[in-house]
């Protein structure tokens, strides 16, 4: 089976990105597939806590500072078979604002890891670091919850991803003058993306086509976490449909993870959720999603084009 880099991201904190990442990793590892979990939440790492592991060295910071030579060396064994973890660092001020060349090195090493499944747990927000990690992965999962704040931030995150993709292509094709035009137009309303492309197609059809193709190559998946009923499940479907129509992206709705109070209990007891609650609706939902992504032929065809980050 080919290598998969899974990225779990989203616009808002507390939606359950780390929960999804940890349990996805535990599920894949339980199927005898080698997994490396990377806590790429550079500002507030806590993936180790969800796995019931205490912070220790080596961690991501050690790799970034050069204390360990490669990312492979920073991936420590866990008590779970087939699952290794690159812990987030405590030296947050340094890592949260990593230099561009360090980010490129990290991205390169993530691609070079010999493990078939690499899962990136990303941080909140739309910083370039987070967006670049999300865009370099396949599949990219956007985790949201059925709250107005989470919905709003999810659309913002998707918009930021779209603008980052377009910016990277503009830089690559040296059409940087378009960037300011894009910034001016896209902020305004829901139709702004359409208007931008429409005017671009009228003035320069070839670049318009390139950028539109680039946009269509961005194919995130949506996960509705903490759902409390049928309406929340449908909300996820509606959001994916709205994103397809207004943000012009091919977004796939993976499904909903039901709310479970045992998640909180497991966290307090510093025990990972998945091994203890394999038959719970939430664990079943995670299994179903991972199987859909791991085996789906359709998804294999959804591979996004590789985005090359410009050297700063």
């Amino acid at each position: 089976m080919d290598k998969r880099i899974w990225a779990i991201g989203g616009g808002k904190g507390g939606t359950g990105k780390s929960f999804v990442a940890a349990n996805l990793g535990l599920h894949l590892a339980s199927l005898d597939r080698e997994v490396v979990l990377i806590d790429a939440d550079l500002g507030a790492p806590n993936l180790h806590t969800l796995l019931g592991i205490k912070p220790s060295h080596p961690d991501l910071g050690d790799f970034l500072t050069g204390a360990v030579p490669s990312l492979e060396d920073a991936a420590v064994e866990t008590s779970f078979r087939n699952l290794r973890l690159v812990k987030g660092t405590e030296n947050i001020l340094f890592v949260a604002n990593i230099a561009h060349f360090r980010k490129l090195r990290l991205l390169r090493q993530i691609r070079q890891l010999p493990t078939p499944n690499v899962i990136l747990d990303l941080g909140t927000g739309s910083s370039f670091n987070t967006l670049d990690f999300f865009l370099s992965a396949n599949p990219g999962l956007v985790v949201t919850t059925p709250d107005p704040t989470a919905v709003e931030n999810t659309y913002l995150f998707l918009k930021s991803c779209i603008m980052r993709v377009l910016k990277l292509y503009m830089d690559h094709y040296k059409i940087r003058d378009l960037h300011q035009k894009m910034l001016d137009q896209i902020e305004k309303n829901s139709q702004s993306l359409y208007s931008f492309f429409k005017s671009l197609m009228e003035t320069d059809r070839s670049y318009g086509t390139i950028l539109y193709r680039a946009l269509r190559g961005f194919r995130p998946c949506l996960v509705m976490n903490k759902s409390r009923g049928e309406n929340d499940v449908l909300l996820g479907r509606s959001m994916a449909d709205v994103a397809r129509k207004y943000l012009l992206i091919d977004m796939k709705y993976l499904g909903a993870i039901p709310y479970d109070k045992d998640v909180q209990e497991s966290l307090r007891a510093l025990r990972p959720y998945y091994p203890q609650h394999r038959d719970s609706p939430a664990a079943r939902a995670i299994r179903q999603m991972s199987e859909e992504l791991a085996y789906s032929i359709e998804f294999t065809l959804r591979t996004p084009p590789e985005i090359r980050l410009p050297d700063a």
């Binding site: 919905v151 829901s190 139709q191 359409y194 509606s238 709205v242 207004y246 032929i297």
Partner: protein
């Protein structure tokens, strides 16, 4: 295909294929109604109230047209005149279209065609 919301055809509006059955159209309509209903969370922070009203009107129009076979046929023909339609192709062929094969006229063999041409009353 880059399209403005006003340019979406009825099928795109309901997120169904052009070959959709009446049940699928009904389901698509219900899903779209729940997406664009008053106070819908799915539109929060992205779609304005005016746009929502516009889409709801078009949704009604779409459903009224597609649920009526005669109106739907007329609409389909108008769409085809506007642009040709290529149904989506499956990545792998899931099943052989049995119905299609049965309905297709049997192909005559070369000898049968030759015989028909030269023998007056076979």
């Amino acid at each position: 295909m880059l399209k403005k919301i006003e340019d979406w055809n009825y099928y795109e509006l309901l997120s169904v294929e052009r070959t959709a059955s009446q049940d699928e159209i009904w389901e698509g309509y219900q899903a779209a109604l729940s997406t664009y209903k008053d106070g819908s969370l799915a539109l929060y922070g992205l779609v304005s109230e005016a746009e929502r009203g516009l889409i709801l009107e078009r949704l009604q129009e779409a459903f009224q047209t597609l649920r009526d076979p005669a109106k739907r046929k007329e609409y389909d023909l108008a769409l085809l005149r506007h642009a040709p339609y290529f149904p989506p192709q499956a990545a792998f062929r899931k099943s052989v279209g049995k119905l299609e094969i049965e309905e297709a006229p049997a192909r005559k063999s070369f000898w049968a065609r030759l015989k028909r041409r030269f023998v007056k009353n076979p």
